[in-house]
Structure formats: C-alpha cells, structure tokens
Amino acid sequence: MKNYWTNLDKNHAIDTTSINEKITDTEKSNLEFLEDNEFVEMATSRRNFLKLCGFSVTVAALATGCETPITNAIPLLIKPEEITPGIANHYASTYFDGNYFCPILVKVRDGRPIKIEGNDLSKTTKGGTTAQVQASVLNLYDSERLSTPLIKGEKSKWEETHVQVMSHLQAVTKKGDKIIILSTPIISPSTLKALDLFKEKYPTTEVVYYEPVSFSGILKANLECFGKQVVPSYYFNKAKVIVSFSADFLGTWLSPVEFISQYAEGRSLQTAGNVMAKHIQLEAGFSVTGSNADVRIPIHPLEEGNILIALYNAIATKSGADLLPENKDYQPPFDVLSIANELWLNKSQSLVLSGSNDMNIQIIVNGINQLLNNYNNTINLDFPYLTKKAIDEDMTRIIAEMNSGDVGAILLNDVNPAYDYPEANQFIAALKKVDFSALLTDRITETASHTEDVLALDNFLESWGDYEPKKEEYSFAQPCIPKLFDTCSFLECLLIWTEIKTTPYEFIKLTTQENLFPTQTTYTDFDNFWSIALQSGIFVPKEKIEIIKTVTKEKQKKVEKEEPILDINKKLYESSSKINIKKDKNSLVLEMIPNIAIGSGAYANNPWLQELPDPITKVSWDNVASVSVKYAKEKGIITGQLISINNTITIPAFVQPGQENNTITIALGYGRKNVGKAGNNVGQNSYPLLKIVNGEKLYHTDVISVTFLNTEYPLALSQTHDVMEGRSIIRETSLKQYLEKPSSGNEEREEILKESTSLYPAAEFPGHHWGLSIDLNACTGCNSCLVACQAENNVPVVGKEQVQKRRIMHWIRLDRYYAGNPENPEMVQMPIMCQQCDSAPCENVCPVAATMRSNEGINQMAYNRCIGTRYCMSNCPYKMRRFNWFQFAKNDSFDFNMNNDLGRMVLNPDVVVRSRGVVEKCSFCTQRIQESKLKAKLEDRPLKDGEILPACAQACPAKAIVFGDLNDTKSEVSQRFNNPRHYHLLEQLHTQPSVGYLTKIRNIDNDINKEEV
C-alpha cells in the first residue's frame, strides 16, 4: 500500500524510516524526555521537580488505578459436554463415615460440590439424609485438612512417603513381625480385595476394626446365638409393636436415616390403613427416639438386663418355653406383663431391640425375638449390615501384642484412638513400642502426634469408591471435584504399597466387573452396566429382591414348622445368670451416648454441626451432663452449674425432665483437642469415662464422686421455655380418639373457621399458590432439615456467644415442649419456618416495602431494599425472621466457613450472602421453584406435583414435609390441607399461613388430656 504523506516534512521521514524504527519512534516520543541527555543532566529546578512529580503520579495512577487482572478464572476452551456454567449437575455418590452410610446425590455447580441430597433411587434410605450427611459437604472445604503427607511432622511428597512406608513394611515382613491395620469398618468390596492382596504381599498383616461407638455386643451375641457375627437388618415398617431398650434408632443407632423412613411408614395412618405401630421406649437419658415413643419408661442402665429377663419369662410363659432364672430381689418398676402381652399379640410382627453393648443383654434380646418369631419377619440375619465390624476385645488384644513387641508396624486408617479410646494413654504407650506407625487421616488429630507418618486422606467427595453397606446392596462413589490438596485414598495407598500398577478407578471397575456384573442379566455390556450403576449410584442384584420376597417366606414356613434351628437356650441361661449377679440398681450411674449432631466426634470441626441445637437439650457448642429433675432438686443443682464427676470430667449440668433419677447422661464426641478451629475445646471428652470390662466397652460407669462447683457456665441454649402454657401450638391426639373422630385434638380449628371473617378481600393467586405441610406425626426431630436449609441458603454460623444471646440464624427452628409429669414427661417437637402468611403482619409494617407477598403466595424479602428497622421481626408472631446482627461473612470475629476462601466455596451461588443489617428468612427455596419453573417452561409442559422440593422437604427421611401448589386440588399438599388433621399455627391471628401442620397422634388407649410440666 502506498504511503500517503500529510505534509512535506513527514513525506521525507517516511521514506527513510523502517517500520521497526517507526515503532521505536513512537515509543520514544512518549518516553523520549527520559533518554534525553538534557533531562538526565538537568538541574533540580522547581519546574523539573514538578515535571517528574507529574510523571510519577500519572504512572502510579495508571499502574494501580486499573483493575488488577483476574488470575484464577480460566474459561473452558472446549466446553465439557455435561457442564453448562450456572446449571447444577447432580452426581450419584455415597456417604460413609465409618459409622453411617447414605446413598447421596451431590449437587455440583461450576465444578464444586455445594449440596448433598439423598439418593431417592435407594430403596433403603428413600432419598432421606441425616444432619451429618447434609453437613458433610462442608468437611470437604475444611481449611484445616492436611494438604500433604507428613513424615515425623515434616511435610513430604507422596513418592517419598510411599517409598518410606513400603521399606518399613518390607523390613517388618522380613523380620517376621506383625503388621496391624487398625481401621474403621471397611465396606468397600474393592478395598477389601486390595487388603487381601496386601496380606498376600505382607503375610504377617492383620486387619483389626475399631469403632468409637461399638456394636460389639450385638455382633458377639449373634455369633453366640446364630453362628453369624453380624448386625441384622431391621424392618421397623413391618413391626406393629416396637420395644426398644435404650436404642436411639431414630437418632444415632445403627442407621437412623433408614429407620426413620421405616418408622414413619409403620406409623403413617395414610398408608397403613389406620394401623399404627406402637412404640415403647425404655431408656435412661431422654433421646429423640424416646420423644417419639407412645410410651416412654425411664429405666436404670443396670436394670436393663433384669427387665429383659422378666420380659423373656413373661413371653416364655405364654409360648410355653423354658423360663430363665430370675433375680428374686428384683422387682420391675412397671408392668412388664402388659408389654409382654402386647408383644405376644403381635407375634412375628413385633420388634425388640437394645442399644446395649453388653453381649449378655443382646443374647436375651435375641431370645425374646426368637420367641416372638421375629426373625425373618422384622429382623433378617441373612442380609445384615456390614457397617459394624469392630469387636472390642481386639483392641485389648492388639495393645497387649504391641506392648510385647510382636508388632513391627501399625497402620491406622481414619481412626483416632488417642482421642476416642477409653484407655487412650495405654494405646499411646503401646504405640511407642511399635517401630513404625502411620496414620491415614484428613487432618492433624490427637493420634497424629504419636505416629511417625501422617498420610493425608481424600475427602469422600474427591475419590472413587464402592460400598456394600448391607449384604448384597451396593452403592458407588465418584469424585465430584479434583483433589483440593495433595491427598490419597486408602485404596490408592493399598494399591501402591502392594505394587499393583493400577488406579483405584480401574481397580474398582475391575472388582465390579468380577463381582457384580455377573449377578445381573439386564445388561450384557459391562461398560453400559458400569455407567448405569455409576449414574444411579446404587445396585441391588436381582436375586436379593427376589430372596426378600420369596425365600424369606419359605424360611418363615420352615421356622414355623420346626423349633429354633440353633439351640440358644443354653446361651440364654448363661447370660441371664451373668446378668443376675449384677449389682446395686440404685447407685448413681453415668451413661455416655452419641448425640445427633456430633456423633462420635470425627466431624467436630464442622461448624454447622456444632451450631445445630441438640433436639432434646437445645444446647449447641457444648455437651452437658443431663441430670434428673429429682436429683437436681435433691442436690440443688441448676442448669449450667459446673459439676465434677469422678474427678475426671468437669462439665455443666443440665436439668433434664424425663432423665432417670439415678443416671447422668453425657454426650460423646466433644472435647476434641486437635480437630480444628471450630471444634477444638468445645465441650468435654467423655470417652475416658467409658469402662472396659473383660475387653468389652461399657457405655455406662459408676459414679464414685460428684462435686458441685459454685461456678455457672454459660450454655448456648436456643430455647429456654419448655412448656406450651396451655396454648394449642402442637395439637395432639390419641389413636383411639383419632379413630373415633379424625379431627380430634384439632377442635380449635373448627371454632376459628366458624368465626373467621375479614373486612378485606381475600388474597388471590391466579397462577400457583405454594404451600407446605408438615406431618407432626411423621417428624421425628432428626434435624436434617435444619442443616439442609443452612447448606442450601447460605445461612451463616454465628458461634457460641451469639447463640447464647439468642441470635441463631437458622431459617428452620425445631421447637420442643414437654407435658405431663416432669420426671417422665412427654415431649413434642415442631419444625417452624417462615409461615409465608397470605395476610402477613410483617408486610404492612415495613416502611420501605422490602418484604412483599408474591403473586404465588410467597412472602419475599428484597435484601437490597431492607434498611433493617426490624419492625417486621417484632411483628412476626412466629418470630421466624432473622437479622444479620453483624457482618457474618468475611469477618474475623466469626471465623467459620464463611471467613476463608476454601470454606466459601460451599456457598450456593443461587442465593445471595446477606450483608450486615439485613433481615432474612425462609423463602420456600425460591431459587429451586424458579429453576423447576424454567425447566418446565423450556420443556413446554406444566409443572408436576412434587417436582419442586425445597431443601428441607428433600432432606426429610420421614417425608414429613410436603411442598406443592395449593391451587392444584390434586396435589399432595392440597390433600393434606383438606385432611381433618390439618391446622395452621396461631391461626386465630388470621395471618393465613401457607404452611400447615397435621396433628400428632400417639398410639395410646387413654385420651390425651395432660397437664404441663
């Protein structure tokens, strides 16, 4: 192209200057004065000084004024097929923490898991979850997880670590010393296979299982009675009478998520045709299960065995079986015969269980179930739980072996005996005698300081896995995020140490191909089968389903014809005589139980769980010593007063109605010393109080001394008034009254409806009218909805001090009230969220119209508009609005998950993080409603009933919460609103809530008409 000149001078210049020079020229023109000799040599004059000033200010402004480039955002060059930015994917996976298992769906948004939901394809959990499962997603983003393996406390690389571990293992094998793998129960078929291969390579290896909350009593009892060391499957839905001795099966025992669902089914009046299971709970401390029972009898832990023998004998008299020797001095404090009658009447449709870890007690329980013909009806030994494997005696044995020097190496897989073994010091001392020790864990724990190596474990959301939680019931786990840190899974370590050149993924695939693929006929191609199995997350071989349906029936017939196959009578005699020697039943006993939020204490660093109020005591951020009302009165103890028990533990007392008079109950899992910022030094460790008798762990111990300190300890209580004051808040009736009149207990509603009138026209909802109904008869108070809501809606954690000031931010609250005799009251619970009133008191008082009702009946909050006058909160009769008292995110005063980059990754991008000074509340998960509406619109179809599931409804294992369109007369929620049991909370105020409740029904014969505590 021709160069056109603009003037004569330029014309000349262009001819002679090359392009390169031209560029230099332009650069020079900008900066030439810097190169100018005159400039360099110039004198420091005022003019020059200003010139330089001006230049430097401009440069500084240009350099810093521009936005710094974003360094981390890397756009997807080639978009992966399944990822659309802004659209969440759900991957099927499995939660297993060594104790509870739960098939789950992981909601992944833009590459990060943000929410866990239940897998509704699972026939066992039916889409339910527990609070711990809901909270587990936060464990992934725990900033205190180990980022690399450690050798002798120094950071190391995996290659080096593996080499070091293997050289130790080889040396030990060569020497002929023992290698012990102390592990949490392993239910992964491929890990078990890898362990076998490991044993082949290192033949001196022994795998020992260890569980802080032990089921060893049941395992041994079943071995003794039936020759199978298993925990059987229980079918609460098939039982018409459930008698539970201190087994908190709706809270913490075995597999609550499954049992809640079965229990709700068995007690649901809609499906079971007016037949409702009767539940009798005998326990010392008040549990969630006890609160749901129709009859709750406080018993002393030491008399449990005697009562069971009495019960056995009462039933045996009816069946004609031999009686067991009874302690003549012992008289049960209640009518055992009536319980026996009830069980006998429902023979083969009943269930007796015990939470005791005493083998003898469990043998008697087995005997009773045998007499009642419950095996293969409500209990199944053929498809047992595989999640419980630890035998207590093993621990005592290996400690002895370690002390004797026979053990050359010990690998601790995700266990923490330095914290949760009752005789932790003995274990630590023994550990020192072992040449090589390695701990596989996700963080520096109490045990970590005593082992040579600390190997950083993956989070379960980062690795592949396969599980067999119950026999022939499989589920899979797939990684939902690349590893956040330099970590390994246990399987990966095993494969490397065994020198198998394969990845965990390939190994699991191979195991599945070998084990599971042949058990089915639907798929002929393995890859197809594999992808379907991963997609659904669960796999149940066809045979099992058939077996449950048919084979059990055959067995049942067999059992009916013949007498018990195994003669357990001898065992029963032995056990009962052992039980009878047991001592004084009037002495003060301390009982240690896990609680719903913290469980065994492994996830004590999860602030969501720490802040979750205990459903019974309503205490968060602490464990307490629950004492009975009578004991407290006698000793003059008040709630919060510090007491010292056996000079080993100093803990605040809590006066607990319904607590057995001679017991003190303390939750396990607290008092961690080394778990992380949130969990360190919260509460007191009660594991050291457990007693080991003949190798068996006993979860109760004698109280030798109690000292009452005059110090009051501030407890973070989220509810302090425990009675309903005669107000019809939770409406309740008995089964008898219900059968006579379905609306019994709900009479107030009729009266209110009769008088209900308004000067104003009723609100109109032309499109949808969202409503939510909670069945108080199904709700067990498991707290799953609370955590689900917290995870879904970015609800901040406020910490102990603020909970104490009654500023908890939860959008759902579980109110609990007591009624009746304070020494053995009935307890009722009610989940309350914003009631989304059609005539909302909060709306008309907001001066800036920040809260308004949508045309779909949702009372919505415009956070941007809110100025924080809190008038709406004052005027809310339910007090379900929450105020951001402080800046809860990115504030060092609230150093929880929202104060670090990693922890904030869990935040749901669909829900705004509220700023300081703004009022917030339940929105019916409006983001989920919107998502489903858009989806239906794109697919050009009307919304289906049940398609929209708010987080709380999704998480509920009892399916107590139903959400839907009230304008659709066929929707489940509309049907519930027409149920005679339906009512609204404080409906006399004419707030016209969109949240309804169904009355609670207790299966008792007498009328419900009780006084309050």
């Binding site: 509810q719 302090t720 008034h721 425990d722 009675v723 309903m724 004051e725 005669g726 107000r727 808040i729 603020q802 000031k805 009654r806 500023r807 908890i808 609250r813 109110d815 609990r816 009230y817 309350i832 008191p841 008309n844 008082v845 907001c846 001066p847 800036v848 119209a849 508009r865 809110c866 100025i867 924080g868 006058t869 809190r870 008038y871 909160m873 004052s874 005027n875 009769p877 339910y878 007090k879 929450r882 105020f883 951001n884 008292w885 402080f886 800046q887 700023s915 300081r916 000074g917 703004v918 009022v919 909370l985 404080l986 105020l989 707030t991």
Partner: protein, 456 residues
Amino acid sequence: MIYESPVRDPYVIGEKSYHQITEDILKPIDKTPSKAWYIVLYISIVAMCIGGYSLYKTFTVGIGTWGLNNSVTWGWGIINFVWWIGIGHAGTAFSIFLLVLRQKWRTSINRSAEAMTIFAIICAGLYPMAHMGRIWLCFYIFPYPNTRGPLWVNFNSPLFWDVVAIGTYVLASATFWYLGMMPDFVTIKERAKTKLSKFIYGTLSLGWNASSKTWNRYEAISYILGGLAAALVVSVHSIVAMDFATSVIPGWHTTIFPPFFVVGAIFSGFSMVLTLVIIMRKAFNLQDYITSSHIDAITRILVFISLIMGIAYLTELFISWYSGNGFEIFTFYRNRVTGTYSIPFWLMIFFNAVLPQLFWSKKFRNNLTLVFIISLCVNIGMWFERFIIVVTSLSKDYLPANWTTYTPSIIEVGIFIGTLGFFVFGLCLFLRFLPIIAVSEVKSVTKRTSETPLEH
C-alpha cells in the same frame, strides 16, 4: 354564700421595671458563665463522647453490639426514642395549649420548655436512625422521586408515618421557638457590647423593627402556628403509639394506645419541665419570674394527668382480662403484674399513678425538694412505662419457644448517656446564649388589675 374567686398570685414577684426585667433575664448573656456552668458543660461533653463512641461502634460493627436478640428486636433504642419524644412534647404543649387557652402564666416558662422540646426531639430523632441495620441507606425511608421505577415507600407502615410526623413536628416547634425569640434578639443586640454579638443577634432577629405592624403580624403568626402545632402535639405521639397499636403482638395491639401515649407524653414533658425549671430558677436567680405559684400550677396539672395515667393502666388491665384472650391475659397478668418484669411494672405504677397524688396537698406542692424528687420519679416512671411496653410484649409473645429476656448492652447504655449529654449540652448553650425567658412576653404580664400602675 357567694363564691369568692381567689386573687391569683402575681406572675412576677416584686414591682419590677421593664429595664429591671431585661437586666434580670439577659444577665447570663453578658456575664462570663459560672464555674458550675462549665462543670456541667464538660460533663455533658464527656457524656456526648461516650455516646459518640457508642454510635461509632454501632455504625461500624453492627446492631449486634446491642443487647437485642431474635425475639426482642427492639430495646433501648425504641424505649428511649419514645421517652425523648414524650419529653419533647412539653414545650409545645406548654406554649401552644396554654397560649391557645390564654394561660398567661406560661410566659415565664414557655421559652425554656420549647428549647427542651427541640433538644429532646433531636435526641429522639437520633434513635430511629441509629437503630437501623443499614443507616447508610436511611434515605430509603423518604418518599422521593427516584430512578428505580415505581419504587415507593410503604404508606401502610406506621414507621413511615413516624418519619413524616416527627419531621413536621421538629420543623413546626423549631419555627415556633425561633419566632418567639425574635423580639428578644433585638433586645440582646441593643445591649450587646461587641460588634460580633451585635451582628449575630441582629442577624438572628431578621431585622425586627418593633413597629406595631410587626408586633401585630408576630402575634397573628404565633396564633396560627400555635393552632397548627396543637394538632401536631396530638398527632405525633398518636403515631408513635400506632407503631405498637397496629401490630399483632399482645400488649401492643390495643386501641387505647394513641390517647394513652399522648397523655403520657405530656405527663413526662411537664415533669421534665418541672425538673429543669427548678434547677434553672435556682441557678440563675429567677425566683421572681418563675415563682412558686408557677410550680404549683404545673404540679396541679401533673395530679390531673397522673389520674388519667392511672385510669389508662387500669383500663389496659381490665380490657385484657375482659377480652378473654389468653395471650393478652398472659402478657398483662403473668409478664407485667407478675413475672420477670414485675418490678419495673410496679415502679411504673407507683411513680406515675400513685406518687404524684401527693400533690393534692398544698403542703407537698410548696415543698420544692419534694416536687423536684417527684418530678424526677415521674420521668423514671415514664421510662419504665416504655420499657414495660416494648420489652415485656416482645420477650414473651405467642410461641413459648421464642421466649427470652433482654438486657441492654454497654453500647445501648452509652448511646442513652450520649443523648442525655447532648440534651444537657444544648440546654447549657441555650442558658448561656439565648433569652431563657421570653422577655417581651413577661413584660406584658407584670401588671395585675388589682395593682396600681407603677409610676415612671
């Protein structure tokens, strides 16, 4: 027997000339203030600093620094707001009601009462602001045309009516107060020695020329403004009452609230006037102008209002029982008459409804110390009344699971101390720089018909 009407006491004691009156009242403006004045001023400044720090904490850290919680979402902020607003009723009630009713004795008190009103309302106005979660967005509460589409304030909300009512009230009372001072400013200007004060007071007087036309207009506008503001006295506190009355909370949801609040406000305002006037006449030797018969008149009004208060309390209790509403009955009988907050409740009854009854006796009315103590007690009693209303209803409302107690934090107390400091600080400046008694008005009431005119 023929009823003989008593001869009223003179409004100004001693046969004072106009010059003497001017001298007596405006003395503080000429003199260097006393040591006591400085001490009080400094104390008030310290108190304001405490308040300033507390506000700083509130604004930077959040409302979490207060003692409020999920159930008791309103506390000292609202209690003190209502309390200050109540006190702020005195001035206007004094000037306007008594002006309209032609009670001439008001002339020696109305100026200071009005000053008190202004400072009290400023203190009160601070609270709704400080109380907001996001004070930086407080302008959202004003109905202003904006670019956000049809986004408007919620005209249904009593809190919005509050903004309007209080805003109007502040403007009206400030105007009234200022207008009243105009003739006196000229007097001060004429007496002033320095050029600066001449300039300032001259400017403040807006060119007052004391012509009869000016006087005529001045009086006309006083009556017009008075007439308008009289309605405001009733409306402001009625609307404050509606903050509570329009809610659904037991103990708040009552129709008696608007008149009950207005009467209560006047009650607390008058007693505050009494407290201050007793101090002022002593400190500035104004016993001749604010005579014991003035005090006597105020105490008599207090007896009357106290009776109304007593009846209001009884009515509330009766209606809550008569309604048969369990929630109301609980709030009144188990959370006020008895329960955690029974001590403040009975203090309130005693201070507001019982103690002022002593004023039936002339002996007690003439005992200045006693009058002073009782006037203080009434102020405390009225504070407790607001505390009882705000806290008891919120702490135990419908669902027992929400029940909790409330204790104010240091920050809340600090803000209250700050407002007290500001109030005293404002009054100190007022006493030092402005005519504390309406000079021109007092001059008009020095003569009595029964007296022979003074000879000049």
